[in-house]
Amino acid sequence: MFFYLIRRILYAIPIALAVGFVCFMLVQIAPGDPINAIVPADAPGDVVEQVRRDYGLDKPLPVQFGIWLLKVVQGDLGRSLATGRSVWSDLSSAISNTLMLALVASAIGFVLGCTLGGLAGTFRGSLLDRAAVGIAVAGVSVPHYWLGMVLVVVFSVQLNWLPAMGAGPGGSSDWVWNWEHMQHLVLPAVTLAVIPMGIVTRTVRGIIAEIMNQEFVTALRGKGLTRMGIFIHVVKNAAPNALAVIGLQLGYLMGGSILVETVFSWPGTGLLLNNAIFQRDLPVLQGTILVLAMFFVALNLMVDLVQTALDPRIKRA
């Protein structure tokens, strides 16, 4: 197990390199110019070239990538071309905001998804099953940025119950877990929860339904186990597969949602990436994507380990 862990951690290194390289090349291939993050379009050519030299953007691409990589190895993600601020300072605050949003959305999505999926799988073919499947399909099908806008129109603009944007009355830096702040979380979290809720519902329903058809369940029933007793056995068998799906969904949520965070002006990694893409802010783009990729790798590793703990039949070596 220990060697498995070490091997998985070592796998992260080529993944990080590949992510950094692909991101760097994509920005170079895309039309536009990173220098536009620093100088306006009406800047004279000599000023543009001078600033390009000042920021090392005139160097050959492999050299630029090498310099960035060297800094990253030393723990320095560089400075934003657009603002001059440290990438890590902007990224760390964005990650904490996205984490907060993702965890709340996960709690909503997974609890609802597991409940609806469990009920639907247990009572297959019933009205409850159809309703749960309908909700799941709607959750997966509805574009979440559209849903976000609808929720804003209803709950913020018309009813004036909840704020339409932002991460607290004074911004995210003085966040406190009280209603004044948490009300800012409600609409984006609900919007973000809808897709994982739908996916988890469908997955859990499928797994439960499959397990319910297995012979050991019939045997349990024949032994006279109560419905709850059987259900517990089914859940234990379903947990590893459901966990894998939940882990993936959690990874997606942690990556932030560009659309949802933009609709709600939520200062997370999605909004940070969105701005960096439009400004061609290369250091912010590379730093953010690298950290998020590593996050995803770590999360997958954790899910694998938890799966092993839950189901001893799964061997990691």
Partner: protein, 539 residues
């Protein structure tokens, strides 16, 4: 008994607060939803275009010359700022003498003087200066292309030197904001290098403007409080809070749900709803031109003045205005009629499709041999208004006179980059015009950079490689006219010639729509990109 005494004490304690409440509310906090995706830089030279100057330039810092933003009725002109008067040296017309305002202090308490001016010029022009900041060069050098250096004459007089005689310098200087050298020195002492010191300065800036920064949350909000030591008329509002909300629907929702009091650029679709909820919609003529800029080289059909005139005459601008819910002004040139630089052009820009057809026929374009124009446009972008729907309207409109328009739709950043490359560059992909909106605040930005042959790429934005010695001579004449009236007359001749040659396809002028809560009072929307934030307050 105890309860009664408690209530009495509570009421007495609340009295001062109740008495003070109306006074505070009369001034209030104005929360503004900007279109910018981040807080514009607060280091003294804002980014994010002129929205940056509007919100973190002018309110926090002053310049030697400033825009008069007090009137909605007349075009905004320059007035004394931190300099009370200025003149060019008759013996050396590259040397300007500026007399500085006395008794001005920065937010940190240090004195504004000639040393501060020299320090601020060096921060962007002297690469050897310890406080030189390459980040500020791009947004500064561009806007004062001839300024070279500054020299202290005495504590309250300074000489500025230009590379060539340039009467436009006082106008250009509205873009050079004065940051506090003392504040920067303090940050430098605690920072490992100059770059880090500028970063720290941006978090705790100090200028001489009517507001000072009290709280800065990167990417989320900037809070400014009224600076009571301001040298001029004090601000009426107690505080201003700036919130970056780049998404137009999110801005509208924020205003309607009372999270902000003022939003920039509501989308035209939202305006009826905003009005129905009692919000004030404001707009005014703004020196913001939304054109097609022609290519004058190669096989471009826009090399022919008859074609350029025909396109200008074929556009139904009233129809376009209806499409935008009234949120545009109809252009008759780069500047409006009545502007000191308008002049007396003989070509009258209007809608006259019959004349357009006649001119096209004269140029050899008939229904059998229709004209096809290719235009590079963006799908969105800062200052671009509603580029897709507006261009589609033009495409449909020009079809009526037999002109087929094809679009090369690219992303905003790419369009900007291509603008710097020129129409002969591969990035132009053979288009005949580009659709980049621009600010026309000063003569350089309005005309010189487009019509001076020396401004062809990569120098500046003469994207179409326009080259006419008559125009070069008129520009030189304007730059050498140091009396304001003579300078304006020269610029008016230049503008009139530009209109006569139809050097742009003038399509729309933006009117800078804003939506505000009815609680915002005292607001004046000048004919400018900027706003005087000293005037509005919350009632």
């Amino acid at each position: 008994m105890h309860l009664r005494r408690f209530l009495l004490t509570a009421c007495l304690a609340a009295l001062p607060a109740l008495a003070a409440a109306p006074a505070v509310q009369a001034q209030g906090t104005i929360r503004i939803g900007m279109t910018a995706a981040d807080i514009p830089l607060t280091n003294g030279q804002p980014d994010q275009g002129f929205e940056g100057n509007r919100f973190t330039g002018i309110p926090l810092f002053d310049s030697l010359t400033m825009w008069d933003l007090s009137s909605a009725e007349r075009p905004s002109t320059i007035v004394p700022g931190l300099a009370t008067e200025w003149r060019v040296d008759p013996a050396d017309r590259t040397r300007w003498i500026f007399t500085l305002r006395r008794g001005v202090r920065f937010h940190d308490g240090s004195e504004f003087n000639a040393d501060a001016v020299v320090w601020n010029v060096r921060k962007v022009l002297d690469r050897e200066a310890p406080h030189f900041d390459p980040r500020q060069v791009g947004v500064t050098a561009t806007r004062m292309p001839t300024l070279r250096r500054a020299e202290k004459i005495d504590d309250h007089t300074v000489a500025l030197f230009t590379s060539e005689p340039d009467s436009l310098l006082p106008i250009n200087l509205t873009n050079l904001f004065m940051a506090s050298p003392a504040q920067w020195d303090r940050h430098r002492a605690a920072s490992p290098n100059a770059e880090a010191a500028w970063g720290a300065f941006a978090r705790e800036p100090s200028g001489t403007g009517p507001f000072r920064v009290t709280r800065f949350v990167p990417r989320e909000r900037l809070e400014m409080a009224r600076f009571d030591g301001y040298w001029g008329e004090k601000a009426r509002a107690e505080r201003i809070v700036l919130l970056p909300i780049p998404e137009a629907n999110a801005r509208t929702a924020a205003l309607l749900s009372n999270q902000v009091d003022w939003i920039e650029a509501p989308s035209p679709d939202a305006i009826p709803q905003l009005r129905s909820r009692g919000m004030a919609i404001t707009s005014n003529a703004q020196p913001h031109v939304w054109p097609w800029q022609p290519c004058f080289t190669g096989d471009s059909p826009l090399r022919d003045v008859r074609v350029r005139r025909a396109i200008n005459l074929a556009i139904d601008r009233e129809g376009l205005r209806t499409l935008l819910g009234g949120m545009m002004a109809i252009p008759v040139g780069t500047v409006p009629r009545g502007h000191p630089w308008f002049g007396n052009p003989s070509f009258n820009i209007r809608t006259d499709k019959a004349e357009a057809r006649r001119l096209l026929a004269e140029a050899g374009y008939t229904p059998q041999r229709p004209l096809t124009l290719r235009v590079q446009i963006s799908a969105s972008g800062s200052g671009q208004m509603q580029p897709l729907s507006m261009n589609e309207f033009l495409q449909q409109d020009l079809k009526e006179v037999g002109v087929n328009v094809e679009f090369d739709v690219i992303e905003w950043n790419a369009l900007f980059t291509n603008w710097r490359n020129g129409c002969q560059h591969a990035s132009a992909r053979g288009v005949h015009a580009t659709n980049v909106s621009f600010a026309a605040m000063d003569p350089f930005f309005a005309m010189v950079r487009f019509w001076d042959s020396k401004m062809a790429p990569p120098v500046s934005n003469n994207w179409g490689h326009f080259n006419d010695p008559r125009f070069d001579a008129m520009i030189a004449e304007a730059r050498n006219a140091f009396e304001p009236a003579a300078r304006d007359a020269a610029l008016a001749r230049l503008h009139a010639a530009g209109v006569d040659e139809a050097l742009f396809i003038w399509i729309a002028h933006d009117v800078a729509p804003r939506a505000m809560s009815p609680r915002v009072r005292g607001y004046v929307q000048p004919q400018s990109w900027f706003v005087d934030l000293r005037l509005p307050y919350i009632q």
